[in-house]
Symmetry: C2
Subunit: 157 residues, 2 copies
DNA sequence: ATAAAATAGTTTGAAATTCAAACTAAATTA
DNA sequence: TAATTTAGTTTGAATTTCAAACTATTTTAT
């Protein structure tokens, strides 16, 4: 029995969207990786790039906050932060209000990397919306809202 | 200067789509992982699940073909295939035409896992298209075609 | 026909990533 | 002010991954 609350999707359309989702995710990661290899940031892995992204330009989050965000243990985070500090992308900033806390920040080299990554994502989104006009946007946004609601549901149970 | 060939996206819309893409990808993986943990397939990791998916129900691909598809070395593949054979999800089938070749197949338990994973993806796509009608579909498909064209470009250079 | 080269997959040993648990230093609570 | 809690690091083990060496088989060249 099919779900009444949703469109009756043709089998081929289902396959199209599903394959596109899977393929796109996979390839974004791979392209990010290979762009890195060709860039001035060869000493950074894709996971380290995402750590730089999670640290953000100016928020100075705590180590624990970033670990939770990336679903990594604190130990793992310490170890990858060590690498990025050694390579000059990340700074540890001892918090003076609470001296147990380390806030994480990006160096200017780290911010450069952050912005390069951001630029790639801008292009990605731009291409996604290429040839659409204002009126089309709500529909695309709706699709993502749907998907995120579904993921909220799925994560709940 | 902005790119003339694309829509002039509002900053907030850009952020919406970008965050949605990043968030959705991240959460799909995490939910797949936690669904596995709660299912009868607790002994399978998310990477092993994707290996089962790559093997497919009935194609009997070669080891090398699957390794290339997943961008893994042959050695890595041998090792994860070993695990999945040991746990009863995957079979090695010696090719009688060319006895150097091993074709990979799923056991009935492997096919069960494959189908469970497929069902999750069906729900995902269904939710994505929830509330849309036939006329809306071309636009959503177009967005993905755009994105894949962009990724083709990006992978080329 | 047979020797040499190529190919498919496995084994090996090393590097990287990850985690949980023990640990240190600092802050909070009793 | 002693006990507890919290933030982050260290430690040791498990897992994943790779490249290179290896084995078995097939293809190519002589």
């Amino acid at each position: 029995m099919t779900d009444k609350a949703s469109v009756d999707i043709k089998r081929e359309d289902f396959k199209f969207i599903n394959d596109a989702l899977v393929d796109v995710f996979d390839r974004i990661l791979r392209i990010e990786e290979s762009e890195l290899r060709k860039s001035q940031f060869k000493d950074v892995t894709i996971n380290e790039l995402h750590l730089v992204h999670a640290i953000t330009l100016h928020e100075h989050k705590t180590t624990t906050a970033v670990a939770n965000e990336l679903h990594l243990s604190k130990g793992s985070l310490t170890s990858s932060v060590n690498t990025l500090v050694r390579r000059g992308y990340v700074m540890r900033i001892r918090n003076q209000q609470d001296r147990r806390v380390i806030n994480l920040g990006l160096t200017s080299k780290g911010r450069l990397l952050y912005r390069a990554h951001d630029a790639f994502h801008s292009q990605l989104v731009k291409s996604f919306l290429n040839g659409m006009d204002e009126d089309d946007l709500p529909l695309v946004k709706k699709a993502f809202v749907n998907l995120r609601n579904f993921l909220d549901e799925a994560a709940r149970d």
